[in-house]
């Protein structure tokens, strides 16, 4: 088979799989071979708007994603950034959940290619929510700390009973009997990091003496801005809870506990 016949085959095959089916006034269903992971094809409709033609997914893409994941998570944080950038790269608008690309200069084919690429990139977001065994990170951290810190010096889910009887600003692990108790936060994700940031800022406002440590499950996976806010208010951080950092945490605890023994005790 020569190059020109291969090219001819590409053209024939690709074109043959694209079909325009009239449905209603000034509305056509664009049938393509492009589909979601479950075999359902992308919904693409060609519609006339007041000032020209558009291709729209008729809000199907995000609805379809909601079968597999909590779509609220694509409205903030890392996933929102990825979705927004995928759409803007291909000049696709998000109209309250409906993805739309205007057809400019009657370039219908270009608009379709761009639209399909954008839809593919948006649906790839579901790879970030793959099924996995639920994380044991917090449980592992708790077991580790209990093995290193004497029981009478370790408080779990601590709150300042005087200033915060409702327990709005808690500390995962508080190591006491020191002038400046050590507050340790386990940080498995973005929500927890935001809560820890708010708690530490509140303690700062109260003038509550403490030293603090944040242990991430995976710092690299977190969005930059909230991460920057957290690192501004927390004393030290460990980027993950793998073997090297477990050893670092163990050494740090040894130092803190020895330091505490020499100080005037405070509960």
């Amino acid at each position: 088979m020569n190059l020109s016949s291969i090219q001819e085959d590409f053209k024939k095959t690709v074109c043959a799989q694209i079909e325009l089916k009239p449905q209603g006034t000034d509305r056509f269903l664009v049938k393509t071979p492009f589909r979601f992971e479950d075999g359902d094809h992308f919904v693409i409709a060609l519609k006339r708007e007041s000032d020209g033609w558009i291709l729209t997914d008729e809000a199907n893409t995000i609805m379809h994603l909601s079968y597999w994941m909590d779509t609220d998570v694509i409205e903030s944080g890392n996933r929102k950034e990825i979705v927004d950038s995928s759409l803007s790269t291909f000049s696709v608008e998000n109209r309250d959940g409906e993805l739309v690309i205007p057809v400019t200069d009657e370039r219908f084919g270009d608009a379709l290619f761009n639209f399909v690429q954008a839809l593919t990139k948006v649906t790839d977001i579901s790879f970030l929510s793959r099924e996995r065994v639920r994380s044991t990170f917090m449980e592992d951290l708790r077991v580790f700390l209990k093995s290193k810190v004497p029981e009478q010096r370790l408080q779990l889910n601590w709150q300042d009973e005087k200033r915060d009887p409702a327990g709005k600003y808690t500390v995962d692990f508080r190591i006491n009997h020191m002038k400046r108790p050590l507050f340790i936060y386990g940080v498995p994700g973005e929500d927890k990091m935001r809560d820890a940031t708010i708690s530490l800022l509140t303690f700062e406002r109260w003038g509550l003496k403490n030293q603090s440590l944040g242990v991430f499950e995976d710092q690299m996976s977190l969005p930059r801005k909230p991460l920057a806010r957290f690192t501004d208010v927390v004393g030290k951080t460990l980027s993950d809870f793998e073997q090297d950092n477990r050893e670092r945490l163990g050494s740090l605890l040894d130092e803190v506990l020895q330091e505490g023994e020499g100080e005037k005790k405070e509960t």
Binding site: D38, G39, H41, M63, W68
Partner: protein, 163 residues
């Protein structure tokens, strides 16, 4: 790699006796991102946990899904056992190599899990349901739920409408 559920395990979960959630009658859907939605939790006598998820496009009422999902102990996502879809466009069964363009029902299978695809990638065309109401009824009938009210007595309502 996660251990796939076998076809026998999937079938047992689908057929297991379940109580029809009261939240379906009347069904109140919440609108967001141009689709209406409702999730209902279901717990069977054996302690298995399920979720019924209902979705319907605001733009195209025939584009809907009624999904029965199982909450696998220890996992972070839900396993889709059955999905009753509207007529949203085409569906292709990758393994069987056929294409549908009709109302259809997705079923989880062992073979698609082993392929690395979504568990409910297999679908068959149906004439048993033709709108959201009948799709819900088919799901209740097929998936071990106790009896649903007969069709005319199901007062579905959407935001802004009286049930």
């Amino acid at each position: 790699m996660l251990i796939p559920l076998s076809d026998e395990e999937i079938d047992a979960l689908i057929r297991e006796r379940k109580t029809t959630p009261r939240a379906l009658f009347p069904l109140r859907l919440v609108e967001h991102n141009k689709h209406r939605r409702r999730d209902c939790e279901v717990k069977s006598a054996s302690g298995n946990e399920f979720v019924i998820a209902i979705r319907q496009s605001v733009i195209d009422g025939l584009n809907f899904s009624v999904i029965l999902m199982h909450r696998r102990p220890g996992f972070n996502t839900l396993f889709r056992l059955r999905r009753y879809n509207g007529m949203h466009g085409e569906h292709t069964n990758e393994i069987e190599g056929n294409k549908l363009d009709d109302f259809h029902v997705h079923t989880a299978t062992e073979r698609y899990q082993k392929l690395g695809a979504k568990e409910d990638s297999f679908a068959e065309a149906t004439s048993r349901h033709w709108n959201l109401d009948s799709a819900i009824r088919c799901m209740l009938e097929d998936c071990g739920f106790d009896s649903a009210p007969p069709s005319p007595q199901i007062p579905f309502s959407f935001p802004g409408q009286t049930p």
